[in-house]
Symmetry: C2
């Protein structure tokens, strides 16, 4: 009898985390990672900063080579190898590599197929100069285009975090930049005064921001995109377009295999990251996870939970006992928009109401440092809570100290704290780091 | 019958917080604040930054004038007025102001007498040029001395937070600076590798650091200090000396009045900030508080709990119903040492063992940003936990993102989280703010 076989489909965050964790758990397991693109082990979140020029080369985003995994960890990585079909009952995966097809048997399988950038099928979406930015090769294509074609004007479709980061990147390259968003929010859940701060920052840095306008077509000059047209008939010049309207979980293979797909559209998993097939696990942007605040299974494609779900899937796929569990997420996210830090955790007011909570809101503005200490900045905080006083979420916008303060709210959500308990936290104070009463304490003191 | 009288002894953080909260609770209460110095309502924590020149004038530390409190809040502030004696049974306080003595009656009293800088009675401690730095007037004297005498060399006695901040301040003024500390720790509880980072930073900025040497005398040239001598016989040149060996709670009046003094030496209070006399409350640096981790009543003279205890004392002294409570502290503290951020919360390894815990330690170093993102820095984390896995404390040293990360540990302590639960936190990730796996998650993953 040969060695036990683990196959991991997908060689970025979740997939490699799974493979590495499986190796730690099972030193003699045979581990194969299948990656359909030519790239593995890269930090996709760094792409906007390569485009902006802050990071000097795309290769800087690559952490490890296939050789590293093979030589240091006895993990066999196969590039340009796509998993076409899974047969859980037969424990076989059919793959295609360099035009050839073959079958690989497995004892356990981890699906880390990720998510794909959504490219709406609008007129002209296939014109040259229209891009999405998700994988390393997307970044490679965009960079090459920017360097060869030297576009003058860019339009970004969608004010999610990729859209916001790319607005900064295009401006850093000197492009006239317009950001068009169909809703009246940014980062999909940020409205009101907090949204206004983000929009002000973008405008102050020369980005034209258009909210509440739906893009309906891309018009070309020859094969090359030239204008972006909205529902209301406005047209924006663009020699380059970045579509950042979201991502969709890559679940075709899982669905065809008869694995259960959750309501969110991502692969249904339990707390052990196991799918509806006993020897198939899923992790990362292709899979659902527990939202600890709403109690629902949700799809939250973000890098940090992806890696951690990968660890869990890999350990369990390698047979660790007792099985390990992923505790779920509370919905924490952060983005830099020029000099602004924007972060959120838990439920937004709209999400809280959608989840059936009778949600109340506090909004408060305060300083990040003692009033007399130079260099401080304003921080705008929104806190969402229910009738019982339970914290449901928080959103913050400011110029410093935002991401880690959101982490305090994230910890409070995890621990199910009430606003009154948050207001009792013993938080660090020193004039360079915080005012005597931290913005978190100030905001939570406003509860009536 | 006249109006109800509230007297507050002490006009800085806790005292004014109490007076203001009492006013919110009881619009018609007569409120008098007695302050024995000529100064009220100042941010004492800013003093080192005025000495360094970062803050251009001492007056910047003053938040409000006595007129502000009188005119805007109907609070009567009496400067240069010392409470000499309290007679709780008679509800009278005897005061001395401008050489005159008188009695004031009260219905309720808040003691916010603060803490005094310890000046050990060593030979030569009364030489000109030897300073402590606690009150605004201490800062005034030191500034005047520095400007008039133009000292060339400074010695700081004690590597607590004032000593560390003053090392930076003296270097900023161009003084040769030596920091002498009798223990082998800095910030009283920071040892080992974390201490070494702080010492390296100080030395890298030109501060001579001498640990494990006890100062025994100050020697003068005439009336003026000239040298600082240690137990081992070493002598350090100094035309100015800053003693930062700690503070002691100002409890003489409370003790003379027969109020219970706790084991820590500070005024014993309950969760309502009430002393052993029913109509006398205490708050801030003169009073004890609950340490939520050890479960003990401790003395923790820090600005943030002082203000919040003041709110509680003021509300209860003004008769709010139901009475409000102070939830206690977890021992959070932060200090900037040149470009280093140093912070702690909970119990240090030594404190944990002293409190009877079977404490284990994790030490881990990681980055504050994604590896490919420029400008990141190392952060060194120490986590203390007990056999059950319960978090007992954390200490961190790094160049960014330390104080707010300590706040995450502080929230976890408040919520009684185990290391495993901390390791499940859903923390913010974006390349400019954190690596995919935050230093908090990396460190807590090391637990065996």
């Amino acid at each position: 009898m040969g060695k036990e076989q683990l196959i991991v489909v997908g060689g970025v965050a979740a997939g490699l985390a799974a493979a590495m964790q499986a190796r730690r758990v099972a030193p003699s397991l045979s581990i194969t990672v299948l990656e359909k693109t030519p790239d593995i082990s890269y930090g996709a979140c760094g792409l906007p900063y390569v485009i902006s020029g802050l990071i000097p080369a795309l290769e800087r985003l690559v952490l490890h080579t296939p050789e590293y995994f093979r030589e240091r960890h006895d993990i066999n990585v196969q590039l340009n190898t796509e998993a076409l079909e899974i047969l859980p009952a037969r424990s076989v995966v059919r793959v295609s590599a360099n035009g050839e097809r073959r079958e690989l048997g497995f004892d356990s399988l981890v699906l880390a197929t990720g998510a794909a950038a959504v490219c709406p099928p609008l007129a002209g979406h296939d014109l040259a100069g229209v891009f999405v930015l998700r994988q390393l090769r997307d970044g490679r294509r965009l960079l090459q285009f920017l360097e060869q074609e030297r576009p003058r004007a860019a339009v970004i479709v969608g004010a999610g975090y990729i859209g916001l980061e790319m607005a900064e990147a295009f401006r850093a390259r000197g492009l006239d930049t317009t950001l068009v968003e169909s809703s009246d929010m940014v980062m999909s859940t940020l409205g009101g005064e907090l949204r206004d701060r983000v929009v002000d920052e973008l405008r102050g840095r020369g980005v034209e921001v258009v909210l509440g306008e739906r893009v309906v077509a891309f018009e070309g000059r020859g094969e090359q995109v030239a204008r972006v047209v909205t529902e209301s008939g406005r047209a924006f010049e663009a020699q380059v377009v970045l579509i950042g309207v979201g991502v969709t979980p890559a679940v075709r293979v899982a669905k065809d295999a008869g694995l259960e797909i959750g309501e969110s559209g991502a692969i249904a998993t339990d707390a052990n990251q196991r799918t509806s097939a006993a020897n198939v696990f899923a992790a990362g942007d292709c899979s659902e996870t527990l939202h600890r605040v709403s109690g629902r299974r949700v799809w939250m494609p973000l890098a940090q939970p992806a890696v951690r779900q990968g660890w869990v899937a890999g350990a369990n796929a390698a047979g660790t006992t007792p099985e390990v569990r992923f505790a779920g997420v509370v919905g924490t996210n952060a983005v830099k928009v020029f000099d602004l830090e924007v972060a959120r955790t838990g439920l937004s007011p709209e999400e809280a109401r959608g989840a059936g909570f009778d949600a109340s809101i506090i909004e408060d503005e305060s300083s990040t440092r003692a009033g007399y200490y130079p260099g401080g900045a304003k921080i705008l905080t929104r806190v969402v809570y229910d009738k019982s006083g339970r914290l449901l979420g928080a959103q913050m916008v400011g110029r410093e100290g935002v991401a880690q303060r959101i982490d305090v709210f994230a910890a409070a959500l995890q621990a199910n704290l009430k606003i009154e308990e948050l207001n009792q936290l013993d938080l660090a104070y020193a004039p360079p780091f915080a005012p005597t009463i931290d913005p978190i304490l100030r905001a939570t003191k406003q509860k009536r």
